[in-house]
């Protein structure tokens, strides 16, 4: 996966939020002319970092893969939204009205420790041009510093 710079991640995202996963559900969906398994995760919005005007208190995010019955389907490099774990999420809104994590795991930063440090998404895909990536720019930052950086990049 080609690295997204922080600027491209910010400019390309519809919402930039701190969210916590509340529940998830897997099902088949027609995608790319084929039935594929997707996971819809309901998120609680904790805080709007940027582009949060009019955001509701909860929203749904779709990721690829999941399990339905005996069939499991795994797509490597997805954002992994862990139940109850807060994270910073850079989200797109698809034509179907659902939200998607921008850049897959590149748009997902779990918050750890009391200092609320942004950490790398667990299944970060193979990233080309890491040195210029948003991942390099954000991982290890405290939430407050990340918030300031992101907001400074948002174009009016």
């Amino acid at each position: 996966m080609r690295a997204l710079t922080l600027d491209s991640l910010v400019q390309g995202s519809r919402r930039i939020l701190v969210v916590t996963a509340l529940a998830s559900e897997c099902h088949f969906e027609d995608l790319g002319r084929r039935r594929r398994i997707v996971t819809d995760t309901r998120l609680r919005v904790e805080e709007g970092l940027a582009k949060a005007d009019g955001v509701e208190s909860e929203l749904m995010v779709r990721t690829l893969g999941g399990s339905v019955g005996d069939l499991g389907e795994r797509v490597h490099g997805q954002a992994q939204l862990v139940l109850g774990e807060p994270c910073v999420a850079f989200l797109l809104q698809g034509p179907d009205g659902l939200h998607y994590v921008n850049g897959m795991a590149q748009g997902h930063y779990p918050l750890k420790s009391a200092r609320r440090l942004l950490t790398q998404s667990p299944d970060l895909p193979e990233i080309l041009d890491y040195q210029t990536s948003a991942v390099k720019a954000l991982v290890g930052s405290e939430l407050g510093a990340a918030r300031d950086r992101v907001r400074a990049m948002v174009k009016p």
Binding site: S24, L64, D70, R74, M104, P122
Partner: protein
């Protein structure tokens, strides 16, 4: 292709002399992407719940979609050669007492241009370029996506496809590396195909971070961590359930929608689970002859990677 000689002694010396702080991870049935599964991870960031994914047979096939990539200027043969090389790297790994106990065989050109798994008809494991539309929201900058399908109760791999983004991404084959290197990408994705997840080992081909400007062609080869991983999944001498290369529900080059429905099959498709509808000895002989001819043609098209 000759097996690359990496002696067990050299490998052992390497592992002892330079122990890695991290270890490879196997993909498991526990889906960390599904919040309700509560998958736990160890200090290596590996998911520890669920069954590890594995091809139970000693043989699995992979095919390349016949159209190649017009966007990148790659023919079917160009891509098939790189796929052969990428999987050959995994198959040639030295596990000390032998090589990984799985053969990946290249099967002929595949008609189907979609990633899919058919629960009631033939399947194929495919490397394909998506050239009309990259259908995955939020993944426009993905170069490749590997999808594995498996039995959630056992971890048995049923199907795997590697989709390459031929819409927005530019790849190159061979030297010098002038764009993103297809061989590097396919070697990494091949690890997912075989059951590995990302590794935190900074030298591993299965690591998440790669920069062709600084890392050069290091993704074309395996690091000791990758070798440990493939040898752990497929140790030499592994007792396999079968040596058949057959796909689940039989092989088919066609997409599911283009295959005859299972109850309408006349036994002449490559779906070997098609029902035999006649009971006369003459019909059995004729069916066996047809089956033998089809099977022979398939074997002739297969190319062993090791």
């Amino acid at each position: 292709m000759m097996r690359r000689a990496i002696s067990g002694a050299v490998l052992l010396a390497t592992l002892v002399a330079a122990p890695s702080a991290f270890a490879f991870c196997r993909t498991t049935t526990c889906d960390p992407n599904d919040a309700k599964e509560h998958c736990t991870r160890d200090s290596d960031n590996c998911v520890t719940d669920g069954f590890p994914l594995i091809w139970r047979s000693s043989c699995v096939t992979i095919g390349v979609q016949k159209m190649g990539s017009a966007h990148n200027g790659f023919s079917y043969d160009d891509i098939a050669d790189v796929v052969t090389q990428a999987f050959g790297t995994w198959m040639n790994a030295s596990c000390g007492s032998g090589h990984p106990s799985i053969d990946v065989e290249m099967i002929g050109p595949i008609e189907c241009g979609l990633s899919e798994y058919n629960g009631d008809r033939g399947n194929a494991n495919i490397v394909l370029f998506r050239e009309d539309k990259w259908p995955y929201e939020g993944a426009a900058n993905a170069i490749g996506l590997t999808t594995t399908r498996f039995d959630t109760k056992t971890g048995d791999l049923w199907d795997a496809d590697i989709e390459l983004n031929g819409v927005t991404q530019q790849l190159s084959i061979g030297d010098p590396i002038v764009a993103d290197d297809l061989l590097s990408v396919l070697t990494h994705e091949g690890g997912h195909f075989l059951g590995l997840s990302h590794s935190l080992d900074p030298t591993a081909t299965m690591r998440a971070v790669y920069d062709p400007r600084t890392d050069g062609d290091t993704f074309r080869d395996l690091a000791p961590d990758d070798i440990k991983g493939i040898c752990a999944i497929y140790p030499p001498g592994r007792q396999t359930q079968t040596t058949s290369c057959e796909n689940r529900h039989g092989f088919s080059s066609e997409c599911g929608a283009d295959q005859p429905p299972p109850d309408e099959s006349k036994g002449c498709s490559l779906n070997t689970r098609a029902p035999v509808t006649s009971s006369s000895p003459g019909s059995y002989a004729a069916l066996l002859a047809i089956f033998g001819a089809v099977w022979g043609a398939r074997l002739a098209r297969r190319r062993r990677i090791v």
